[in-house]
């Protein structure tokens, strides 16, 4: 009997708290539906239509858009370019970032200075710095080719030739992303307990390489996984440099996924078709995230 008497106010209080919780979360829930869930759903639905902006009516066309995508040479080119870009930028940027982080971590002097310098590109306006890179890459008046010429090397027309444009863009991408990755690695390195190194030394890990192999590398596992995932996702999302510098050219040699979507959807206004492309783009992101979770579940248990 006494239980009932004391439970009642608690229940009422719980209900009241639940109501307040709903109220506090209501704006977030509303906006989440409005700006994330609903549009995502809409993009999937639009992908099955022939909707074009400016035309009043549209009809459902089933998988027609996807069938067209498979045969679309621009889109296939775009997928391949994005893959190549990612395959260059991600490993190079991660390796460089790790090397720089290890060097900075080992050095006692100038830590802050070097960290600031290497991080600077990540804090700079990419569109602006891309413009600077365009000048650096300029085939005749650019400093890079002028520098190469000092050694008698005839530099390529970096951003202007279909053979080199992706490499040029990749160099910019690497330059821009190393600092971000480095900062994450630095955090990962500082989190490794010092006594592990001492213990490894006692166990006979004399050289720097041994200590790296036995302590640093495995302890960096979670950081490495995270940096890898985010680097791949950021590379897949490359857009700014392409839009600013090459517009997908020359000859579609630098068409990348987001640029193709932008072009189809917002320039040619073929919303239905561009939506189908967007669904492919989303699917790629989902697969990448899924892979990350799988690896996280299985392998990385040091965190």
């Amino acid at each position: 009997m006494a239980n009932v008497a004391t439970d009642m106010p608690i229940l009422a209080a719980d209900r009241r708290e639940g109501r307040i919780a709903w109220l506090l979360a209501a704006p977030a829930i509303t906006l989440l539906f409005l700006f994330i869930l609903l549009p995502t759903l809409a993009v999937v639905v639009l992908g099955f239509t022939d909707f074009e902006l400016g035309f009043g009516s549209f009809r459902f066309v089933g998988f027609e858009n996807y069938a067209e995508l498979i045969g679309d040479r621009t889109f296939r080119r775009s997928l391949r370019n994005t893959a190549v870009y990612t395959a260059i930028v991600t490993p190079v940027s991660i390796a460089l970032a790790l090397a720089i982080a290890l060097l900075i971590e080992a050095e006692t002097r100038g830590k802050v200075f070097f960290r600031t310098v290497y991080f600077l590109p990540a804090a700079s306006l990419l569109v602006a710095m891309a413009t600077v890179w365009q000048f650096l890459f300029h085939p005749t008046i650019g400093p890079i080719n002028a520098f190469l010429a000092e050694f008698g090397i005839a530099g390529p027309n970096w951003l202007g030739a279909s053979g080199t444009v992706l490499y040029g863009l990749a160099i910019i991408g690497i330059w821009q992303s190393v600092g971000f990755n480095m900062v994450l690695f630095l955090a990962g390195l500082t989190a490794i307990p010092r006594d592990l190194y001492a213990a490894a030394e006692v166990d006979g890990a004399r050289s720097w390489l041994d200590r790296f192999r036995l302590v640093t590398w495995p302890m960096l596992g979670p950081t490495m996984l995270f940096v890898t995932t985010i680097s791949i996702i950021n590379s897949v999302k490359v857009f700014e440099t392409v839009k600013t510098l090459t517009e997908g050219g020359p000859n579609k040699a630098s068409e990348v996924l987001l640029f193709t979507i932008y072009q189809e959807g917002f320039v040619y206004l073929r919303v239905g078709y561009a939506s189908a492309m967007t669904v492919v783009f989303l699917a790629i992101l989902v697969v990448l995230m899924f892979l990350q979770y799988r690896v996280l579940d299985r392998k990385v248990h040091y965190a």
């Binding site: 919780a21 802050v112 290497y118 008046i141 959807g265």
Partner: protein
Amino acid sequence: MTAHSITIGRILRFCLLSLGALLFLAPYIFMISTAGKAQSEIFSSSLSLVPEQWSYVENFVKALSRVSMPTLLLNGVIVCALIFLAQVVVAIPCAYSMAKLKFRAARFMMVLVMLGLLVPIHATALPLYVAFDRLAVLNSYAALVAPFSISVFAIFLFLQFFRAIPDDLIHAARLDGMSEVGIVARVVVPNAWPAITAFAIFSVVAHWNDLFWPLVVVTNQNYATPPLGLLYFRAAEAGDDYGALMAATLIITLPLIAAFLIAQKRFVEGITMTGLKG
């Protein structure tokens, strides 16, 4: 392995780091140098760093006259400030509900947040663009800000932070007769400053630099953000007037770089926190 003795290893390390630093700084060095060169000089000697004739004033005047730089920078500040404010005001109460209140939908919300983390603006841009077009709100601050007013990432980050706030603190505040809104404003927020500053840096850097969404919703120069403005400037600048272009680039990159240099410790901490939690 004494830290202060000079060994070959240390010298080698220092040289490597310095060489790398020089390479990473090279674009900035050439930007500053070229912004001061006259057109003829740019075409004749690209490797010399100090301009023979100082044309800084000339190039800066050109840069400032083609596109209204103050408008661009002001737009950037307004848009970033509005986005950040909305994100914080929306996300903090929600994260508090999920972390500290008896909120039945908390698990369901967590699923929504995780899903939301997967979806970038590039994926939602098409339907949002169509909707904004129908509502005739393209070319406005509202269009630039609205899609980012909800940041699932902010909810995610704050949630982790709020969970660490002791329950006793909140109970005590409740016993003192504080309302839940009062608790959020006067107990939770002051305790979450590190997370809020970290998120502020993350958010401002992301939206100051974003080109995709402004490019989609803005065609009117009056609402252009810095990246978009620079794109206009490039388009207006037919030919290769790199001097003026570099001057414009310099003006537009400077604010964020200055902010970064002044608060670089905060920046790095913020990026680390938001990076690792994300």
